[in-house]
Subunit: 210 residues, 2 copies
DNA sequence: GCAATACGGTAACAATTGTTACATAGGTTC
DNA sequence: GAACCTATGTAACAATTGTTACCGTATTGC
């Protein structure tokens, strides 16, 4: 495991910390669609993402959902961070966007390493900063963009995360992520197709022009 | 100054840290409406709020705005935090909601105290957590609520922050905060008045029934 | 007092988004 | 292949929000 950790976090953490991670962390591999965190649950370990992507959603009490952002290699979940440190409940839902490989850090180490390693502090602060920025960018999207632009941004984010121009999603799944209805998504996708931006087929959306 | 700091932060920080704050911080008093941070500017000091309230807005490039959340006594600005630590530019705008008294901590102390004082680390993490939660609650409002409920929530937040049931705002100012138009706000406020929830007068909105 | 400006009420209309309903096509199961 | 399920297309309509325009009334500056 140590080599894989070094490959992904070697530039961030000093040797001693990398060794500690290797000693106490447990390795975890999850398939696409796996639900890592559900709202209201308590969290006992913090994930570092080795590869793959995780999508973070906000869910309200009625089962409504909204995509907040994606996590990638080198990222960690800021909500988990603060849940660990502050012993709060989870406020979000995390689902594997692709197959993913993670290492899980036990909660107890968080406080300790934050005092001990400057690089760990920097990592944690940077994570918080990035998530706050991303949350605010999500606010931008919802507040300032219309649904057609939000959809386009969503498709672009997806292609970036999955590193392919072909998105294997039903319109209904997209509708959940953007918190709207399937009919609205179908309508707007059709318009994008007429404008030559995407090509539609059953279960797939191909982006042909950015 | 030391006494005022102790009154507001004594329960959070140890004596030694309170003394350090007193030694290096500068006191600042700002009037209602004062613009503390504008988007794109660099930040060299971190504010701790002694009393009053600060409102934090997201502004896009076209001058559109949206209220993110309020800061109160005992709060600090997480965006400023991460700007200081990560040397990023400001992504937000901060305006004094009421007259306010602050102490400003020089950036250099941040790293130092984060290593040195457990209570400071806890404070910083807690601040990040609270802001992230509030940003996500803002997302909830925009994504899941209709404008009438957002307006009502806004009015309630205002009364809580200002500790009075009478809000001295024009409809236009509210429209800016919620990123909609004056006409929409007037329309919805009128409906709230017809339902006996508020009483309207020029420049004032009185909440008569929660 | 008078003019200028700011604030709020209202109507009419446009644009966007949400909802319901139903049709059609592809794929699966047996 | 028949029956079934899922995904998508489309129309018609409703609800919400945004826009423009115009009016009357307070407030301010002179």
């Amino acid at each position: 495991m140590i080599q894989e950790i070094k490959n992904n976090y070697g530039h961030l953490f000093e040797e001693e910390l990398l060794q500690e991670i290797n000693n106490v962390a447990t390795f975890k591999e999850v398939p696409e669609g796996f639900e890592l965190i559900r709202p209201g649950s308590y969290i006992t370990a913090m994930p570092l993402i080795l590869n793959g992507a995780i999508k973070i959603l906000r869910g309200d009490t009625d089962g409504d959902e909204l995509l907040l952002y994606f996590l990638e290699r080198g990222d960690t979940c800021a909500m988990t961070l603060s849940c660990c440190l502050g012993h709060h409940k989870s406020e979000i839902k995390a689902v594997a966007e692709t197959n993913a490989r993670l290492v899980m850090i036990p909660v107890e180490k968080m406080e300790e390493w934050t005092a001990k390693y400057k690089s760990w502090r920097a990592f944690v602060f940077e994570s918080y900063h990035k998530r706050l920025i991303e949350a605010i960018e999500t606010i931008d999207s919802i507040a300032f963009l219309k649904m057609d632009d939000r959809l386009l941004k969503y498709l672009k984010d997806k292609t970036k995360i999955n590193q392919t121009n072909i998105i294997n999603n039903t319109h209904q799944q997209i509708a959940y992520d953007l918190h709207t209805s399937r009919v609205v998504i179908s309508r707007l996708l059709k318009k994008l197709e007429q404008n030559g931006i995407v090509k539609l087929n059953r279960n797939t959306i191909e982006i042909v022009h950015f």
